[in-house]
Symmetry: C2
Subunit: 145 residues, 2 copies
DNA sequence: CTGTATCCGTACCGATACTG
DNA sequence: CAGTATCGGTACGGATACAG
């Protein structure tokens, strides 16, 4: 991952420049792992996927998102939107009307990402039961405490 | 996501039972988002992917992992291994020899997951430049502070 | 309607020391 | 070799109040 203690993870609260290119030798496998981490560090926030999915079906307004994504706070919605916009995954368009109207749209890059997320979704749906069972079995054998 | 404040995220430090089935009505899109979150909550930890990748190439020993995954601490390696084993993504085999020898192997489910991670890896590699550029552009327009 | 600002809990993770 | 135990920092995210 990051070989120095310069952490390359997302800073959701405060933006930070993040260009930790791999300099040290990686095993091919761990290079892959490192790249996946890059994605997750950008899109792995608690709400990013939800916002992305909602914005992938056409332009969405702020309040629409707030209603569609159950449980999100106004603060986190704003932060998530800013981060996704910053990474070029969302386009923010302001209509200078009163009351103000702001629309968010997923970029082609984000739409492409959405495709791959479907793969993960299907994986989770297929194995949800098995994983749940594995947990129960594990907790019974070892102490649930 | 989780409609109550019962959070379904991973507890990495302390195991916790996590079966928050979706009961409330979801929009189809947000249902997808919710399922992806399930995956990330299991596998989105800082080191999970790295461990998974390393274990997908055959049985690996504890110390091997410690060396391959640059920067991981002994504590985090143990915790990550325990979580993955609990979810049925890793099998732990103990050889009762002296000195002790423990081997971790990815299960078929984990191998399948690995396939899908490749999709994300390729996505990141394709768009790494564009995202980086988008960040720079964004930070120049809005304040980098 | 679309945000900002502030306070604060807690999960995640690192460092370090100890053990069968 | 393969862990466990404990302490502490800090980023993430929730609640709430305020604003253009």
């Amino acid at each position: 991952m990051s070989q120095r203690n310069t952490d390359v993870s997302v800073q959701l609260d405060m933006p930070v420049d993040c260009d930790g290119e791999a300099v040290a030798p990686f095993t091919p496998g761990q290079a892959k792992a490192c790249t996946v981490r890059e994605v997750l560090d950008r899109v792995g926030g608690k709400w990013s996927i939800g916002v992305l999915v909602a914005a992938s079906h056409g332009p969405v307004r702020f309040t629409e998102l707030e209603r569609q994504i159950e449980g999100i706070s106004r603060r986190m919605l704003t932060l998530t939107l800013r981060n996704l916009e910053r990474d070029g995954l969302l386009v923010r368009r302001v209509h200078p009307t009163v009351p103000p109207k702001v629309e968010y749209t997923a970029t082609p890059i984000a739409l492409e990402l959405y495709e791959y997320l479907v793969g993960l979704t299907n994986w989770a749906e297929r194995h949800r039961g098995a994983i749940s069972a594995a947990r129960i079995a594990y907790d019974r054998e070892h102490g649930p405490v």
